[in-house]
Amino acid sequence: MESSIINIIAGIIAIASPLILAALGETITEKGGIINLSLDGTILLSAMTGFTVALQTDSLFTGFAAAALTGVVVAAVLAVIAIWLQQSQVAVGFALTFLCRDLAYFLGNPYAKQKGLQLTTLPLPYLDSIPVLGPIFFSHTIIVYGSMVAIPMAWYFLYHTNQGLTLRLVGENPNACWARGIKPRIVQTMYTLVGGALIGLAGAAFSLAIKPGWGRPQGCEGIGWIALALVIFGSWHPLRVAAGAYLFGFLQILGIYLQDFFPTIPSQVFQTAPFPLMIFTLILIHLGKDTTGKKRLRLLRLLSGNPPQALGKSYHPS
C-alpha cells in the first residue's frame, strides 16, 4: 500500500513535468505583458522536432536543443508580428497554434510510429536511497529534475533579481519603463523568446520522455490550453502555477483510478477538470477584489492575484 502511494506521487511529479515547463514559460512571457496563445501548437511542433532530430542524430541532447530552438523560433514569429508590427497578440497566437499543429503533423508524418530514443531514469546517487523521499523525488529522468529546479529558479528570477523586476515593470507599466530608459519592446521580445524555449522543452519532454514517440495524435494535444489555463489559475505566480500543474497531474492520475469505479465515464472527461477549476478561480479572484473597501474572506484574498496590467496590449512608444 505504502509503495503504491509513493509510486503515485512519483508518477504525478513525472507526468506534470512538461506542463510545469510550459506553464512557467508562459508565466515568464505573460509577466512581460505578452500573451503567447500558440502554446498548444508550439508544444506539438517542438515535440515533433525533438523526436525526429534525436532520431536522426542519435543524440537526446540535440533533440532537446532542437525542440527548444523550435519554441524560440515560433516565439520570434509572434514577437515580430505582435510586438513590432503591433497586430493583436491573440490573433497571431491563434493563427500560429493551427499553423504549428498542422506543420507538426505534416512534417512528422514520415516518422510516425517509428521507434526512437527515449530518456532513461537517472537516479541521483545517495539521494535515491533515502526512504520515501528517494523514490518520490530522486529517481526520475533528467527533464523531470529540470522541471523541479525550474520552479524555484523562475520564482527567484522574477522576485529577487533586477532583471525580474524589470520584466514585471514592463508588464505592469511599459510607459513608465520607457520614461526610465528601459526599452519595453526589447525586454518583451527577449522574455517571449526565453518563454518559447521553455515551451519547446516541454514538447520534447513529451516526445522523448513522458509519451515517447511521434504519431497522430501524439498524446500531448490539448496540453497547451491547459498550461494557459494554469497560468491564470496560479494567478501569474510561478509557485502557484507549479502547484496547479501538480494538481492537474494528480487529477490525471486520479482519472485513471476513477475509471475503474466509473467505467462509463471516459477518461477525457476527467481531463477537462482544470477548466471549470480555472473559471471558478477567476470568478473568485473577481469577487475577492476589494472594490467596496470592506474586507472579504481571507480565503478569497489568498487566491486573489492580478494579471499584469499591460497584458495583451501592444506597446508603442509615442
Partner: protein, 348 residues
C-alpha cells in the same frame, strides 16, 4: 464626399487588398517550396479535388455551410470587440440540443415538426453556451477568451459523457458516436448531391441577414460603437453590455445551428468530434477577412476548397492532408504581417 474622393478611396482599398492577396499567395508558395513541394502541382491537385466534378463540388459546399455559418456569427462578436473562441463549444452544444429533441421519438409530433423544433433548439443551445461566456465576462470578471476556452472543454467533456453514458449505442459505447437517427430526421440530399440544399440555403440566408444587420441597421451601429469604445457608447445612451450580449447570443445561435445541421445533414448521429474544428477555422476565416463582412463568403469558399481538396492529396501526390491547415495558417499569418506593415507605413 465628392465622387473623385470616393473613387480614390475605393482604388486605395482595391490596391491594398490586391497587395495582401498577392503577398499571401507568395508566402504560401514560399512555404510550399520550403517544404520541397511544387506549388503548381499542389494547387492543381487541390482544385481538381474540390471543384472539377459536381460530386466533389457539392461535397466542398457541405464544408462551406458550417464555415460560413460560424463566420457570420463571429462577424457579430468581432464587431462587438469580443474574441469568441468559445464558438467550438457553442457548435457542440447546438448539436447536443438537437440530438436531444430528435431522440424524443415518443412525442406524438409529425417528424417535420420535430425536425424544425430540433433546429430551433440547436440555436437555443448554442445561444445558451454563448450567454454563459458573456455572463462570465460581464459579471464574473472572466475574459471571454479564457471563459470560452474553458466552456469548450466542458462541452467536449459533456458530449463524451453523453456518447459513452446515457446515449451510448445499443451494445457497446464507442468513439464512433450514438446510434443513427431515424431516417425521417435526415436532412435529404437530391440524388448525386453531397450537400443538403436546405443547409446551403440557410447558410446563404444567414450571410445575407448578417450583411443587412451589420451594415444597415441601428443595432449594427450600436454594436460597432460598443466594440470600439464602450465608454463613449454609454454616453450616447447605448448599453454596451447589453449589445455585446446580444452579439454573443446571435453568434451562439448560428454556431448552434451549425451543430444541428452537422447532426441532421452530415453525420446523422452525434459523434465526439461533431464540430470538426469548423469554429476555430471560422475564426481564421474572419481574421483573414480583416473582420470585414464582404470578403467572408469568398474566403470561406477558398478554405472549404482547401479542406475538401486536401482529402485526395495523400492519394494523388503522397502528401499528408494536414497540408491544407499549413496553407490556411500561412495565409492568415502573412495577412497579419501585411496589415502590420501597412499600419506602420501609415504612421510614418
Amino acid at each position: 464626399m465628392d465622387q473623385s474622393k470616393i473613387i480614390s478611396r475605393w482604388r486605395q482599398a482595391g490596391t491594398s487588398s490586391l497587395m495582401t492577396t498577392l503577398l499571401a499567395l507568395g508566402a504560401v508558395a514560399g512555404m510550399l517550396l520550403l517544404l520541397d513541394l511544387d506549388p503548381f502541382a499542389i494547387s492543381s491537385a487541390l482544385t481538381s479535388g474540390s471543384i472539377t466534378t459536381w460530386v466533389k463540388f457539392s461535397y466542398m459546399l457541405s464544408v462551406l455551410v458550417p464555415l460560413l455559418l460560424c463566420s457570420c456569427g463571429l462577424l457579430f462578436t468581432f464587431r462587438a470587440g469580443l474574441w469568441n473562441i468559445g464558438i467550438e463549444g457553442q457548435v457542440i452544444c447546438g448539436a447536443i440540443c438537437s440530438t436531444f429533441i430528435l431522440r424524443l421519438d415518443s412525442l406524438p409530433l409529425p417528424p417535420a415538426t420535430l425536425f424544425a423544433t430540433a433546429l430551433i433548439f440547436s440555436c437555443l443551445g448554442g445561444a445558451l453556451w454563448g450567454l454563459l461566456a458573456s455572463l462570465l465576462k460581464n459579471h464574473g470578471g472572466v475574459n471571454e477568451i479564457f471563459g470560452g476556452l474553458g466552456l469548450n472543454f466542458v462541452a467536449q467533456g459533456f458530449i463524451l459523457w453523453l456518447i459513452f453514458g446515457p446515449w451510448k449505442r445499443a451494445g457497446i459505447a464507442s468513439m464512433s458516436g450514438t446510434d443513427l437517427l431515424a431516417k425521417d430526421f435526415w436532412l435529404t440530399n437530391p440524388a448525386g448531391w453531397r450537400v443538403a440544399p436546405l443547409a446551403l440555403g440557410l447558410a446563404l440566408l444567414a450571410f445575407l441577414l448578417t450583411c443587412i444587420i451589420l451594415g444597415a441597421t441601428r443595432f449594427g451601429l450600436q454594436l460597432q460603437s460598443s466594440g470600439r469604445n464602450a465608454q463613449a457608447a454609454r454616453l450616447f445612451g447605448i448599453m454596451p453590455r447589453f449589445t455585446t450580449t446580444i452579439a454573443m447570443l446571435l453568434c451562439g445561435s448560428l454556431a448552434g445551428l451549425t451543430g444541428g445541421l452537422q447532426v441532421t445533414g452530415v453525420y446523422h448521429r452525434l459523434i465526439p468530434s461533431i464540430s470538426s474544428g469548423y469554429g476555430y477555422l471560422a475564426l481564421l476565416v474572419v481574421m483573414l477577412a480583416n473582420y470585414k463582412t464582404l470578403p467572408v463568403p469568398f474566403i470561406s469558399l477558398i478554405f472549404a476548397c482547401l479542406a475538401a481538396g486536401s482529402i485526395q492529396l495523400p492519394m494523388v501526390l503522397q502528401v499528408d492532408s494536414s497540408l491544407s491547415g499549413v496553407i490556411q495558417g500561412t495565409l492568415v499569418l502573412s495577412a497579419l504581417i501585411v496589415h502590420g506593415i501597412q499600419k506602420r507605413r501609415k504612421k510614418e
